[in-house]
């Protein structure tokens, strides 16, 4: 069902945990739907120097979180904003169609954390103008 990459990130998820005094924290998902992703970012000079996550969810939700944190670490905020759900899924060598929403969740978790950062620091991040972290990614 899952690619080796997914299983690798599920087996050994990178960057699990919390960042104390994180600069941005984002939480997306809904326990009713079986997945919540919470992302912590440490940002210095517009660069994501650290990222950690906690996830309640299925194998691909955990793998997507892990991969997403890996992908944004070391990136500028602008670069991180370019990390789409498709990019996450591709980096995992693909996800089953019914699991694509997990990668969407990962993208949204990054954005939610960045939104939090932008609010705390009173800055504008391009692309987050209309972003709503509470919007549901599932079709019920």
């Amino acid at each position: 069902m899952y690619s080796e990459k997914v299983m690798d990130h599920f087996r050994n998820p990178r960057n699990v945990g919390e960042i104390e005094n994180a600069d941005g924290i984002g939480e997306v998902g809904n326990p009713r739907c079986g997945d919540i992703m919470k992302m912590y970012l440490k940002i210095e000079n517009g660069v994501i120097v650290d990222a950690k996550f906690k996830t309640f969810g299925c194998g691909s939700a955990i793998a997507s979180s892990s991969m997403a944190t890996e992908m944004i670490k070391g990136k500028t905020i602008e670069e991180a904003m370019q990390v789409t759900n498709k990019a996450v899924a591709e980096a995992l060598d693909g996800l089953p169609p019914i699991k694509m929403h997990c990668s969407v969740l990962a993208e949204q978790a990054i954005k939610a954390a960045l939104l939090d950062y932008s609010k705390k620091n009173n800055i504008q991040i391009k692309g987050l103008e209309n972003f709503n972290p509470d919007e549901d990614v599932h079709e019920h």
């Binding site: 299983m7 699990v16 079986g34 996830t55 309640f56 194998g59 019914i98």
Partner: protein, 392 residues
Amino acid sequence: MNRYIYMDNSATTQVKQEVLDEMLPYFNINYGNPSSIYTLGSKSKNAIEIARERVAKAIGANTNEIFFTAGGSESDNWALKGIAYANRKKGNHIITSKIEHHAILHTCQYLEKEGFKVTYLDVDKYGTVDLEQLKNSITDDTILISIMFANNEIGTIQPIKEIGRIAKEKGIYFHTDAVQAIGHVKIDVDDLNIDLLSMSAHKFYGPKGVGALYIRKGVKIDSLIAGGAQERNRRAGTENVPGIVGMGKAIELAYENLEESNAKLIKLRDRMISKIFDRIDYVRLNGHPTNRLPGNVNVCFEFIEGESLLLSLDMEGIAASSGSACTSGSLEPSHVLLAIGLPHEIAHGSLRLSLGDFNTEEEVDYVVDKLVEIVSRLRAMSPLYEKIKEVK
């Protein structure tokens, strides 16, 4: 992988060696078509009739009331559609429960589209159907009550005898999906007033793709699969001879060893449940505490999700299942867990371990050890668990 521990015997079982041994000659030695009159055909015919006797004996039926099918789903579809269409003139109302297998529920939905009315009975927190509601739901139009014998997810055994009595009093046909019960529960169709009963061989160490429908003599039912004169004109198609032979052997074995096997399973089951409760917190048992299938363990671990639990178990060489959404493509958790009143977020963390004849005490202990590790690892990753700890 050094060892593989299979604890998903409600999903399917392996074919026992004695069963396979009886089946083998029918693939390429006694391969005759049972409808053929020559020697090779008669051998197949006789083999089927022996299997039919074994199945009939297991549930106290007559041989001419047993009809072989391709499995539990076909039997369920046949029972429902066959009764519905054949008795339309009598009425158009069917009563079932909210926790039936999809083979029943989706067939009922189909019949609703065709103009039938279906009542889906509630269950209590243990998954037992509400008998009062059953009685109150019966109308003059009710032609069929279909209630499963034992639930496939949470293992709860239904008050079949009471339901049979109610159905009989009212002159309504009573079908039971006994796919999970056969081979584990003593069943006498006369004693329980069952008119139709579905079974599937692969749930009791027989082969996949073969099952049976018991149809009490005199019951008015249409065929689901029409064609040749097989199964006394009621279920067409060249018989799956090896499969039928295997089913016959498997059901015989199951009832020969019933008490022994059940005693063993109950011991393992209860050991597993109590160890899980001893060693893991925030856990709930689903299903009836005692009136449940001997091999069924179904628990919810809060704050974690079922699929990641299953994958983690699989990494340790342990096969189990979950009522969680994620596996099925819908994001809804199991309709059974919702029907017994679990909130969605908890239902997502369910785990079913269904024990079988090949499991050992040592395996149970090993699995619990692994579960302790896995649950704690997944909870450490879970933002929901974190919140609980904060509250504490």
